[in-house]
């Protein structure tokens, strides 16, 4: 579009919200499978769910909630012209994302060292419902972890734009959309955490 600078913030946010719907529906497929299989294998889901460590999950929940707070404050900071503070807060968000992934790495490693991973000999000896539980667990947390990485990359990209002043106190819709995406990553975890770590205990 030569010459025409078209800025429509409402439109940009509107598009982002539509995209977030699609993300919810993507995870919706996994939640649907969880619901169906939980109804079919309630006892086996409970016995398998006890294997998960609520401290890993709970710790990661705290980390993600804190990171969402950082993002929310960073947007206000940028709007008030506090660019350095905004960048520091976004940097803290990325650190939180890294802590989340390291935590997840240790959690998965512990599971794998106990022989619980798709296709392992130990898994093959389990009850069918337990196998379904762990398959779902790996797929859901794996897909969510992928979204954490993508979200961190999006925030890093927003930081670069802020440094270059392409995103600033007058033009901050990109940061707001990046923040919306990060809140979605957080929100999905808010559902994953109780379904896998809490209600089965």
């Amino acid at each position: 579009m030569s010459g025409h600078v078209h800025k429509d913030y409402t439109g940009a946010k509107f598009g982002m919200w539509l995209f977030l719907f699609t993300e919810v529906l993507l995870f919706g497929g996994l939640f649907l499978l969880y619901a169906v299989y939980l109804a079919r294998y309630p006892q086996e889901f409970i016995s398998a769910g006890k294997e998960l460590n609520v401290w890993f999950g709970g710790g990661n929940t705290m980390v993600l909630l804190t990171s969402s707070l950082f993002v929310a404050i960073s947007i206000t900071a940028l709007r008030r012209g506090a660019k350095t503070l905004c960048l520091r807060l976004l940097g803290s968000t990325i650190v939180c994302a890294a802590i989340f992934m390291v935590n997840k790495y240790f959690e998965w490693s512990a599971k794998i060292s106990h022989g619980i991973y798709p296709g392992s000999d130990h898994m093959k000896e389990m009850q069918p419902g337990e196998m379904v539980f762990f398959n779902l667990y790996y797929l859901t947390t794996g897909l969510h972890g992928l979204h954490v990485i993508i979200g961190a990359l999006v925030i890093a990209w927003a930081m670069i734009l802020i440094k270059k002043d392409r995103v600033n106190a007058d033009d901050w819709v990109i940061l707001e959309n990046a923040g919306l995406y990060w809140h979605l990553v957080d929100l999905i975890w808010i559902f994953v955490f109780p379904l896998y770590y809490l209600i089965l205990h």
Binding site: M1, S2, H4, H6, D8, T10, G11, F14, G15, L18, F19, F21, T22, E23, L25, L26, F27, G28, G29, L30, L32, L33, V36, Y37, R40, Y41, E44, P118, G119, M123, Q127, P128, G129, E130, M131, V132, N135, L136, Y138, L139, L143
Partner: protein
């Protein structure tokens, strides 16, 4: 519509106004018209490949036993025919090609809401298409599962299903982004005076379609991702040996793929709704009813997926509920058909090629829709499930419906985009040949299906020979019509006579600007709309 002032900078409109030199004027362009044409030519190319595969399938079925290909080749060929036609032709066909070309102009916008995202969608489409084609020549051979990728077979076959699943995921992502772009565009970029009840019905149908794209496509994304995971890392969520349930794959698959048939048909209905009033010289009868029925189809169509699964072992209660909901969808479809007929009634009909293609849409779609009711009734479906009756049915609605609407859109809007006219007599002859070939081909399929011939076999018992030969002859007639139609229209748009701004006498915005349209569609000032899209009197056409 009135008060549209444009200042064409050249006779060839946007064709002369590329931002980058040479081929990059296309590959890097964010202009909706250029992106629309990129889609259009890719879609035409894939249609030709898919149609050739279809002809080869018919040739194999000319006689019982092995005729020109082995059973395994036949399985791969029909899978590829389905995947190409569904994911690379019908789904993106009208929305991505003609939606991009026409929709922004119809609402008085200079482009879509997110032009860069629009170009990105095209690159995703091409990437998905290349991966789909690559899956044929790499790995363990071309996928042989049919386009539905049903587990457990798709999880076990040694053919290259994994890559095809990745291709479907990427194509779905492209479709989502296009839908998201269109919904935002229609909400945000309507020009002054373009109220919701003045939006042309083609754009309305794209709006309903785009919502389905946004809300249904992610589900096939996760479904093929799970299939991929099951094949690659062994997370057998659909594998009974690991406690999974293959039926869940079917549910998830059809939660997308049934609404997807409305992604395919709704834009076709929109094309027909736009064409019929213009060639009847009458306002569209029941404009609001057509708008509401589009939205109703999008809504109700999302609730009927399990009617593909009557014989999968669902409970009788579920079968009855889904059968009932399926009949509900017939109501808004019929509302449209009656409104089109009422529009034609007492109109001053001009039998130009776009109207002929639109009329054949009504005929063939109605036949296809009525045979759909046979399949929607649970008791009748058990008899004809997985027979050629089903193949005949969906070719009537998809090819006779969406395919014909795509051709109607080509004959209606390509002269606008290229500024040149094809030979109308040849277009009419080609249309007649196609319809005759079509009816011979697919009616034979329906009859042989009623007699019990199952789909997806390269062989059949000798009793079915004569009907299969008739169908194959029909496919040749159809192919002749297709070749003639394409040759005529492509010669016309490159070498035909200039058409002027408004060759058909349309009243919507795209006919008020030069052909081909200039770079940003409208001149310095945005158009101001003062009347509805089919108000030919106020537009000064009548």
């Amino acid at each position: 519509m009135s008060d549209v002032r444009t200042t064409p900078t050249s006779d060839r409109g946007f064709f002369d106004e590329g931002q980058y030199p040479g081929i990059f004027a296309w590959l890097l362009s964010t202009d909706h018209k250029r992106i629309g044409l990129l889609y259009f030519w890719c879609i035409i190319a894939f249609f030709c490949v898919g149609a050739t595969l279809g002809l080869l399938l018919r040739l194999e079925l000319f006689a019982p036993g092995e005729t020109i290909m082995s059973a395994q080749t036949y399985n791969a060929t029909f899978t590829l025919h389905g995947v190409i036609m569904i994911f690379l032709f019908i789904i993106p066909g009208i929305p991505a090609a003609f939606g991009n070309l026409i929709m922004p102009i119809q609402i008085g916008a200079r482009d879509v809401a997110f032009p860069k995202l629009n170009l990105f969608s095209w690159y995703l489409y091409i990437t998905g298409a290349i991966l789909a084609v690559t899956s044929l020549f790499t790995g363990g051979g071309p996928p042989d599962t049919g386009w539905t990728f049903y587990v457990p077979f798709s999880a076990q076959t040694s053919t290259n299903v994994s890559l095809a699943a990745v291709a479907v995921f990427i194509l779905g992502f492209s479709s989502i982004l296009t839908g998201l772009n269109f919904v935002t565009t229609i909400h945000r970029l309507r020009t002054e005076g373009m109220t919701w009840m003045r939006i042309p019905l083609f754009t309305w149908s794209l709006y309903a379609t785009a919502w389905i794209q946004i809300l249904a496509t992610p589900v096939i994304g996760i479904t093929v991702a799970l299939l991929f995971a099951e094949r690659v890392i062994g997370t057998g969520l659909f594998d009974p040996a690991q406690g999974g349930d293959p039926i869940m794959f079917q549910h998830l698959f059809w939660i997308y793929s049934h609404p997807a048939v409305y992604i395919m048909i709704l834009p076709g209905m929109g094309v027909v709704s736009d064409i019929i009033p213009v060639f009847s010289r009458k306002p569209c009868f029941g404009y609001k009813a057509i708008v509401v029925s589009s939205l109703a189809i999008a809504f109700a169509g999302s609730l009927v997926w399990a009617h593909h699964m009557y014989t999968s072992g669902m409970s009788d209660m579920a079968v009855l509920v889904f059968s009932f909901l399926t009949f509900i969808v017939a109501i808004p479809s019929a509302i449209k058909v009656f409104n089109w007929l009422a529009t034609l009634y007492e109109g001053s009909i001009l039998l130009d090629p776009p109207l002929l293609y639109a009329l054949s849409f009504i005929l063939l779609f109605t036949i296809g829709g009525l045979t759909g009711l046979v399949l929607g009734a649970a008791a009748a479906d058990v008899h004809v499930h997985d027979t050629y009756f089903v193949v005949g049915h969906f070719h009537f609605v998809m090819f006779g419906g969406t395919g014909m609407a795509f051709f109607a859109a080509m004959h209606y809007w390509l002269p606008k985009i290229y500024g040149r006219m094809y030979d109308k007599t040849i277009a009419t002859v080609a249309w007649a040949i196609m319809v005759i070939g079509f009816l011979i081909l697919y009616i034979s399929m329906k009859i042989v299906g009623m007699q019990g011939m199952p789909r997806r076999y390269y062989d059949y018992v000798p009793e079915f020979t004569s009907l299969n030969q008739l169908a194959t002859v029909g496919s040749w007639i159809l192919a002749v019509g297709l070749v003639l139609m394409f040759a005529n229209i492509f010669r016309g748009i490159f070498k035909g006579d200039p058409v002027g701004d408004n060759p058909w006498g349309g009243a919507s915005l795209e006919w008020q600007i030069p052909s081909p349209p200039p770079m940003e569609n409208f001149g310095e000032e945005d158009p101001v709309v003062t009347h509805g899209p089919y108000d030919f009197t106020k537009a000064g056409i009548l």
